[in-house]
């Protein structure tokens, strides 16, 4: 492989990885937008989505097969179920805390994350579950560049979901309400907007997107386990921050940038694979310190 082919290959791989980050980052950003909460449990919703998707696939694979069709149906099931779980979490754990000090809400979010993680640990015994599908290894070569069909389907699905979300937020009534709530909750209440319902819808969509990413990741990589949400949760948060937390296009952009950074970072001398995550977290810290609004975020006059 020449450096040029290698460059293209990494570009493609970075985009695939970046789509996962972007899908998960969207949930962080949306929830943060409406209730200013860093939802620590978001990565675990991704994990839960993978397990529900796995269960869903074994239900439907009998008549739909375990190819992309079956996986799509399983993914929709997972989005629905985990979306509802997200709403329940918001109602049970976050809603009563909205007036509490920020520290308490953060710790509650952490507690929810630990509950999900350890529930999955107890249910699976900490074992890896093989996510078996009928997806082949097929693909085609463009010159020296190898593209698998799975990668294409994956990026396309992520793209469709993100475009759908963007349309929802910019064109529909609920989307407009969502944006209004993120600007001023009290004013919305006075204008007759059902703020609770808007928050619930936001959680539903954000959690559903995480579940979609979880199911696709499970199917694409082939194995799932209880701790799979931790690392991607952190990285997706990093992506959301790079793009500007609270900004939906920012989350997409941040996800892709982080995916590319990781893909190319492995090849930078002295950064190597062992320093890869140190590199990612350093970027997170640097962005937060020097440009906390990220690339596309609006500056926020708030100090906590």
């Amino acid at each position: 492989m020449t450096w040029y082919d290698s460059f293209l290959q990494q570009l493609v791989d970075g985009l695939v990885l970046g789509s996962f980050y972007a899908l998960v980052a969207l949930g962080y950003t949306m929830v943060f937008g409406v209730i200013k909460l860093l939802n620590f449990a978001h990565g675990d919703l991704y994990m839960t989505g993978a397990f529900v998707g796995f269960g869903g696939l074994s239900l439907v694979s009998g008549f739909l097969g375990a190819g992309w069709l079956g996986i799509f149906v399983a993914m929709l099931l997972a989005m629905l179920a985990v979306g509802c779980l997200g709403v329940v979490i918001e109602r049970v754990a976050y809603h009563p805390m909205l007036g509490a000090p920020r520290l308490s809400i953060l710790i509650t979010a952490l507690a929810v994350s630990l509950v999900l993680q350890n529930a999955a640990l107890a249910l699976t015994g900490g074992q890896y579950t093989a996510f078996r599908t009928e997806l082949g290894f097929g693909g085609f070569n463009l010159g020296n560049l190898f593209l698998s069909y799975n990668q294409i389907v994956l990026v396309a699905t992520a793209g469709v979901l993100m475009i759908g979300l963007e349309l929802f937020v910019s064109k529909t009534l609920y989307g407009r309400a969502m944006r209004a709530v993120s600007i001023d909750k009290d004013m919305c209440r006075m204008m007759g907007i059902n703020v609770s319902a808007v928050i619930a819808v936001t959680f539903f969509i954000g959690s559903g997107l995480a579940a979609a990413a979880g199911t696709m990741a499970g199917a694409y990589y082939g194995s799932i386990w209880y701790f799979m949400g931790f690392l991607i949760g952190l990285k997706a948060f990093t992506a959301a921050v790079i793009g500007g937390i609270g900004s939906i296009p920012g989350a997409m952009l941040g996800g892709l940038i982080l995916g590319l950074l990781e893909s190319f970072g492995t090849h930078i001398p002295f950064i190597g694979s062992e320093w890869k995550d140190v590199f990612t977290f350093s970027i997170l810290i640097l962005v937060l310190v020097f440009k906390p609004t990220g690339l596309l975020g609006k500056s926020e006059v708030e100090r906590m």
Partner: protein
Amino acid sequence: MGNFLKWVASAALVNVAIGPLALAQDDPITLGVQVPTTGSEATYGKDMFNAISLAADEINADGGLLGGRQIELVSGDSACDPQQSVNAASRLASLEVVGVVGGYCSGATQPTLKVYGDANIPFVIVAANSTQLIPANPGNAVMINSTGNDQAKTALDFFEGEEIEKLAIVNQGDAYSQDLANLTRDAWSEAGHTVSAFEYVNKGEQDFSALVNKIRSSGADAVFWTAYYADGGLLIRQLRQRGFQGLIAVGDGSNSPKLFDIAGQAAEGVFAFSNPTADFLPAAQQFISDYNAQFDNSPGPYAPLAYDGLQLMAWAIDKAGTTDGDAIISALNSADGQEWLAGPVAFTPEHTLSRSNFVVLEGQDGNWTRYEP
């Protein structure tokens, strides 16, 4: 909450009381079993515990030790975590067990060596085999699994036999796999070959595409994965998916049928270095059927060594003729070819197994088979 406090208090009292009770009862011989029965390695731990209890039952049925004393096992869950295993080890030490059999995760086994050393309790380490354990051993422990050095040697011989020149080594950044990776890298460069890539992955990471590209562009003829099956399965899958044609070999941590679950088709033709598993041991056929009958399951990769560990401990106690720590420790070290399931046991002056027990396996039709070049 008041109830909780009472409960804590009463449970603490029970704990204090157990010590003297166990002491008072002089008749059975209490042996500790230190394996992870919870946590991510619980499957292996439970399997080892089963094999050990099978061995204890056989000895007890044959009339026990030291003229009719029965063996009694106490479990100490290491959870594959250094701090937890120290807690478990000090619990076993407090119960004044005569000896301890077990040790699976090297990182969790290492700090317990001091606990048992201070209490002068003989310890047969059955699976943990990082070379880091050797200098940490105060002299009361023996290792019956071949160490990382032996595995690195096996790997060197194998890769040379397959005429590999450029080797990529990937580990998972934990004590065991980093140790094996370092040893192999040193042995491989010393033998005059090229280590074309030396890489880490983090446990739980799913996307190895950048790593695979790096390995491919490094021109490696072969990839050696030194860590566990779960992430190894993913790596193998992505290597083959992206058209890596070279040879792939995995260390003994990946020697699990589950590798085939995760990697699927891609695991065909993958080689594994392995300590002797029951299927490939002629002496273990009876053991397999007994194990199956009792636990309704096939023995896992470390079951034969765990079984041998208890047999060795029992042999040493009988040879010493006493439950005194020093006598048993010197009896253990005097082993000269005693043989149960996994071949003859004898030790080097460093208290490690004096021969390499590694064999090479090959993945065929979703199973490991013995590979003879």
